[in-house]
Amino acid sequence: MSDDKIMALFKNGKREKAFKELYKLYPRIEKLILSNNGTKADANDVFQEALIILNRNLEKSDFKLTSSFYTYLYSVSRFVWKDTQRKFTKQELHNLQSEEVLVFDAVLEEQKYKSAEKAFRELGERCQQLLQWFYVKKMTFKVIAEQMRFKSEKVAKNQKYKCLQKAKDIYRTQSKTVQS
């Protein structure tokens, strides 16, 4: 499938189909990781990350894919992998080209989101569900209250606030430990 068609899938909200198509590029990315001392599991994680970053950027109004999906995913994957390996030399970072800088930024930014995700996953199951329903599925508190058997919308809203607050707390402590 051509890049244009995959792009159309993203635009039409058929993200899953688009991902499925992009997975055809996976074997080549896997080779990259394997040839850089990574395992298959590493390759899998890296590619996932690359897809998330791609999707993230596609959702930005100011993002334009200047190369093919493969080139983009390849460079993202390379950065993701190097980042996890912490192998960037100062020289390398200095010599980055403007586009590469964008990619690198995106990778670093995603690192933050990833730790937020980690924090989120440490929440209780109920909290996770509540936050997902509200923020991702954009369900109203009324519906959530019904589904999760809260006494009222207000209780649901309150609960959500508490859950979010807890996630933030975990996230903060996480970033602190990372920094220190």
């Binding site: 991902f19 997975y23 996976y26 606030y161 903060r172």
Partner: protein
């Protein structure tokens, strides 16, 4: 704080008004804590989003993997199919190459290859075989370029059997033969010496003592005397026609064979092993006889057919049949029998479903006359109009269907008028016009069969059947260029000329046949002819008279007819006092029949035989390694007779010569 969160949510959801949004963005720029709070909130939200995204990616990945494996699987299946096709193509190409290699080595072996086979180690004997290799080259253009097809036939003939010592003494110069498996290959030019060495020594069986049951001895004697099969190799995927040494033609349709064990269709090269038995001597040497249970048959030739591929036996696929043209002619009502040995005696059976042919092909009704009422007994919905080509009488010039029909009607009318026995009508004292309703079928080989006639008078109906049985073969009708069975129906209006005035006239020449349509219920008789011949247009006239039969089975095949002689029949047995367990047969001089016997205490029982026939009583017995032949000509007279036969000792070659002398009796 909670308010801020609501505000941020509203901002992210784009649900703020323009002024609210501007105020919000302004606050982000000015209020550093608020900005940090906003960024943090957004990060958490994106973290939550990741959960969803990762889930999606995983399902996509699984779907991708499934489709990939499906593709691989599909590809795998395709690959296998391609491999099989390629393999079969390569294989046939290879075998073609092999055969052309054969052809080059053919230069070396030239006319004949001579080799000797050690038949079996127990009896320590050497069977000397004469191998003749005929190689036919044929070039065909195939889709993949020209492929050379070589068909070769190996004709083997047993010259004799020897022990190693006898072999050495008979062929002293050949002692240094080289042995390869069980076959010893000898220089081709040694053939001359074999021909010179006429004396053929019988195989010596040391395990056999003279005291053992002699009849068993005789039985074992027949094994090495049996004729060697001719082996024909051909490609099973194509129609193939072969003419054997003694003139038998066999037509093998494409893809006719399946493996008897696996039931799978066989492709590639198949070898057909056929033994022809036309000569009395050949039949006698193979211990063959012509009997179907207790009825005597008259033979028009026997065949033993085997099909093999890579040493596994093949059989004919259901619905496929071999067409066999026997090199014999002149006798009517020949049918195909399949043979089985019962207690060591050959018994011939009529295949149960003789009518396989007509059940396969469409049977077509056709009315000769224009009368429409005579339509009962139509066993098929098809009609005359469905025929592309109507049957043609041999006397008719080819033309369009209408002309052919007209001509056919004239011919059949003339024929019936000429052949009808007028005395029958006179005897019945017929005054008025009588209708005989006749129907028959022209099968896809052009034979007239299934003749039915109805009339008020049985005698007239019987006569009509008799006459139509004499009707010659015609060119059968066609649908889509395939020959089909065609039904004909027509009434014969029979009256004696001048009888209209109720005056009986005895004139016999004035028969009038006309088409009429009144229905009278009379007798019904069904006659089926069994001679099945090739469509006329494909064979020459002399071929036409040869027996062409189709078989759905391999193995022993006999082209026979039952002997329906009007002569009286009796139970017949002969007491041969000096028989000593000899194998005794009766050979009927007037017909090609060999009758086996059942022996008990010197009494040889032949079952029911026609009386007053001239026969040859033939006995072969074996004492130790000596062979005795007894021949006696006699006429069958009484039920129980005493006969002595003069047995004289013969060598195998003498026995053969003696038996060949009898061939003129067949």
């Amino acid at each position: 704080m909670e308010k801020d969160i609501d505000l941020i949510n509203a901002y992210l959801n784009n649900s703020l008004s323009e002024t609210e949004r501007l105020a919000f963005e302004n606050r982000l720029k000015t209020d550093a804590t608020f900005y940090e709070f906003f960024v943090e909130h957004q990060t958490i939200l994106k973290g939550i989003e990741r959960v969803e995204l990762l889930e999606e990616i995983k399902t996509s990945k699984n779907k991708y993997l499934i489709s990939k494996w499906l593709k691989y699987f599909g590809g795998f299946v395709l690959l296998i199919t391609i491999t099989i096709i390629a393999y079969s193509l390569c294989f046939s190409a290879q075998s073609g190459e092999q055969q052309s290699n054969n052809n080059t080595s053919f230069e070396v072996v030239k006319d004949s290859v001579l080799n000797e086979t050690i038949a079996d180690s127990i009896s320590k004997c050497i069977t000397v075989k004469y191998h003749k290799k005929q190689i036919f080259l044929e070039e065909r253009t195939k889709a993949f370029g020209g492929v050379e097809i070589v068909k070769d036939t190996i004709i083997k003939e047993v010259i004799g059997s020897y022990t190693i010592e006898e072999f050495k003494s008979a062929f002293p110069k050949n002692i240094d033969f080289k042995k390869e498996n069980d076959t010893i290959f000898v220089n081709p030019n040694l053939l001359i010496e074999f021909e010179k060495a006429q004396q053929i020594v019988l195989k010596e069986n040391k395990n056999n003592e003279a005291t053992k049951a002699v009849s068993k001895n005789v039985e074992s004697f027949f094994n090495p005397t049996k004729k060697e099969a001719q082996i024909v190799t051909f490609n099973a995927s194509e129609d193939y026609k072969v003419t054997l040494k003694e003139g038998t033609e066999i037509l093998i349709p494409a893809n006719a064979f399946i493996n008897s064990k696996t039931q799978k269709e066989v492709t590639g090269n198949v070898s057909l092993e056929v033994t022809e038995y036309y000569k009395l001597s050949d039949m006698l040497l193979a211990d063959l006889s012509t009997k179907s249970y207790d009825q005597i048959l008259e033979t028009g030739g026997m065949l033993y057919i085997e099909a093999k591929k890579n040493n596994s036996n093949l059989k004919l696929k259901q619905g496929k049949e071999l067409e066999i043209v026997f090199n014999n002619k002149g006798k009517e009502d020949m049918q195909l029998f399949n043979g089985d040995k019962i207690d060591g005696v050959m018994n011939w059976n009529l295949p149960e479903s003789i009518d396989i042919l007509s059940s396969q092909s469409k049977s077509i009704s056709q009315e000769v006359s224009l009368s429409s009422e005579y339509y009962e007994n139509t066993d098929s919905s098809s009609n005359f109009e469905f025929l592309d080509v109507v049957p043609r009488h041999p006397n008719c010039e080819p033309g369009d269907n209408e002309q052919l029909k007209q001509c056919f009607n004239e011919e059949i009318t003339k024929f019936v008028a000429r052949k009808f026995n007028h005395e029958i009508g006179e005897k019945l004292n017929l005054i008025t016009k009588e209708n005989i309703y006749v129907s028959f079928e022209i099968d896809r080989r052009g034979n007239i069969g299934k003749i039915e006639a109805r009339s008020k008078y049985d005698a007239l109906a019987a006569e009509a059947i008799r006459v139509l049985e004499l009707f010659p073969k015609v060119v059968p009708g066609k649908i889509n260029s395939r020959y089909v069975n065609v039904k004909y129906r027509f009434p014969i209006a029979y009256r004696i000329l001048g009888s209209e005035n109720s005056i009986p006239v005895t004139r016999t020449s004035g028969m009038i046949f006309q088409q009429d349509s009144a229905l009278i219920i009379g007798n019904k008789k069904e006659v089926q002819k069994e001679i099945e011949e090739k469509p006329i247009s494909e064979v020459s006239k002399s071929d036409l008279e040869r027996y062409t039969l189709s078989t759905t089975q391999l193995g022993w095949i006999n082209c026979d007819r039952f002997i329906n002689s009007r002569k009286n029949k009796i139970k017949y047995n002969i007491n041969i006092s000096n028989a000593e367990g000899a194998n005794v047969k009766l050979i009927f001089k007037s017909m090609s029949s060999i009758l086996p016997s059942r022996a008990s205490n010197g009494f040889y029982d032949f079952g029911v035989v026609p009386v007053n026939e001239e026969v040859i009583l033939l006995g072969i017995k074996k004492k130790g390694d000596k062979i005795f032949l007894g021949l006696k000509e006699l006429r069958i007279r009484a039920t129980s007779e005493e006969q002595d036969i003069d047995f004289k000792e013969v060598s195998l070659s003498e026995l053969k010569k003696e038996l060949i002398k009898l061939n003129s009796n067949f």
